[in-house]
Symmetry: C2
DNA sequence: GTGCAGGACGCAAGCGCTTACTATGAACTG
DNA sequence: CAGTTCATAGTAAGCGCTTGCGTCCTGCAC
């Protein structure tokens, strides 16, 4: 026997001198109560500090007004900026967010295995999380709506940027400036399931080079592990070459930061000797004075949140596969190649 | 009438040829069912992909196994690293996390006003969120457990670092190296309710100076707005002085990053001409080669998560006011003052 | 053989809501 | 003035679970 501890809908009903049903209707906005009654009940509820129990409501109604957001990582800028957008958008429509972090392969497997337990949510937002076919099938079989933020997942609604185009822009910028020996610090991909971005971005780099008729020198393409450390290492690798590149495209800003660190330590002038362009426009890119191609991360999150809302509202969203534009942000780490 | 869409406990009961009560007991681990029956029911439930509805369980039982985490900001490193720790710790004990972001004063007010609605959670974790007295009282009156992560809140359990000590360490490092003209880039505090860190850190700076008998020159103390931009501006301000400092303590690493940018642009050698020390050990501090005082952020989150668990388990935590140690991380932005 | 303890299980009363259905009376219509 | 209509309000049947209590049965002591 659990001690009754909070106010009840019945308490409100009693005090207002109406039935529980009326209270429910008044509070939920459903029709069937006169404006005055509604107002009276509402103000009473407010004064008493009463609010409808979401759990009971969910049980009775069948939907929870709750959404789960699943992210592979919380402490990295990209994911948290995305999350920020999602939460902001969802907050506006009074939708609660349940947060799940699945860092490792194992956790992911487990998460999807336990997914049925999560039927406490109406929808699932995946932040750039790659999943296996089997997991996708499980998802499809469930009655939750699924939205992908920062990627693609079958026919589910999604929001993302064009990774190929984004890297193409980065490389093109260097090509336009006259660079030819352009390196790429890509990503080693230590994941079991591949994230979409690395492959797409490498492809974009190659596409741009192709278009300009500049052959890709494979020794200028390195793939260290992801992150600042990897960037530093990758850059070091490139510096060891007989003829280092005059410019590099970094797979992401974080990688570029690492590359810049190596260059600074090596006493290599940026952009005099080597130009560096990143991808993402990390919140600290400006502090590094890094030229980069900006992808609107928080906005992607917001859009994803809106997609969720639309899907939940029932009406099929006008446009459920959103692709946001990216654009070059010129700062101080790129310039023309030094005349030989 | 909502269409029954998922499996029911009744479905399982029927198939297993037992009563609903037995299924509930078998699945929840409660006593009262024979080991064989339990096993049978469990495997059946597993095969059918059935899981107990958390909502119904909560309704019937009165507790939700859900915790709300409230943060003023999601996209900044500090908060998301903290969140990361909290989520990780809570994930281990199967506690779901509801996430709330309250960016502005107004949202905060609203959040606390609506708090009763949140009785869907068993506990509340506040990430370094300053709240008003009135709000605190509301909190105290509610039956939720409250844990503060990265700060103090009345007698509630909390995890944090000593901001005074942390800034003291930063300044001392410079003093030991022989600096005397040490600037402070603090924080302007545009918040209505003051965050604890700024004041504490400024105090720590002053304490260290005092201890070394070095008078604080007020013109060397600037308080721009928080963040990288503020840091850049604050540093610029200091550079304008007739005699700029030979070293600066930045209120946080992000501020230090901005300061470094200004110095680089101004062509001022770091640390030859000016040393810079930050506070926090931001995930990118290493990329900036920034000397800083490290505070264990994610770990604070983890500890906060553990506090929640303890509080929820009922047993009063052995130690509910945790203060984690910080330590200087030497990197390349500090050195001895240049001999005059 | 009788009595009793105790384990395994079913019954049924909620938990706090939503909502289909029904009742009531006021406002209209012809 | 009877006959309708319609807005408002109440009744009560669940939603899917937990749990106190009662029942039954087996095993054992006397």
């Amino acid at each position: 026997m659990v001690q009754r501890t909070t106010l009840n809908m019945a308490d409100i009903a009693r005090q207002a001198g109406v039935s529980i049903a009326s209270v429910s209707r008044a509070l939920s906005g459903a029709p069937g109560v006169s404006p005055e009654t509604r107002k009276h009940i509402r103000s009473l509820a407010h004064d008493l500090g009463y609010t409808v129990s979401p759990d009971a409501a969910r049980l009775a109604r069948g939907t929870s007004g709750r959404v789960a957001v699943v992210t592979p990582n919380l402490s990295h800028w990209f994911y948290s900026a995305m999350l920020d957008g999602i939460v902001t958008a969802l907050h506006e429509v009074e939708t609660d967010v349940l947060l799940y972090e699945v860092k490792h392969e194992r956790e992911r497997t487990r998460f999807f295995a336990e997914l049925p337990a999560r039927r406490q949510v109406d929808a699932l937002v995946l932040i750039a999380l790659p999943i296996s076919d089997e997991e996708r099938q499980r998802l499809d079989k469930m009655e939750v709506a699924v939205v992908m933020a920062g990627g693609v997942l079958g026919d589910h609604p999604h929001v993302r940027v064009d990774d190929v185009a984004i890297a193409d822009q980065a490389a093109s910028h260097l090509l336009v400036a006259g660079h030819e020996r352009i390196g790429l610090i890509g990503s080693g991909g230590t994941w079991v399931l591949p994230y979409a971005a690395p492959a797409g971005r490498e492809q974009g780099y190659r596409r741009a080079m192709d278009r300009w008729g500049v052959p890709v020198r494979e020794d200028l393409v390195v793939r260290p592990v992801w992150g600042t450390g990897g960037g530093a290492e990758g850059m070091a690798q490139l510096l060891c070459l007989r003829r280092p590149p005059t410019a590099v495209v970094a797979f992401s800003d974080e990688v570029a930061f690492g590359a810049l660190l190596t260059l600074r330590r090596a006493g290599v002038g940026v952009p005099e000797r080597i130009s560096v362009v990143g991808i993402d426009d990390h919140e600290l890119a400006e502090a590094f004075d890094l030229t980069t191609v900006r992808q609107p991360v928080t906005e992607q999150g917001v859009r994803a949140g809106e997609l969720v809302r639309q899907v939940l509202t029932g009406r099929e969203p006008e446009e459920s596969q959103v692709e946001l534009p990216c654009r070059l942000v010129l700062r101080g780490t790129t310039g023309a190649p030094r005349p030989t």
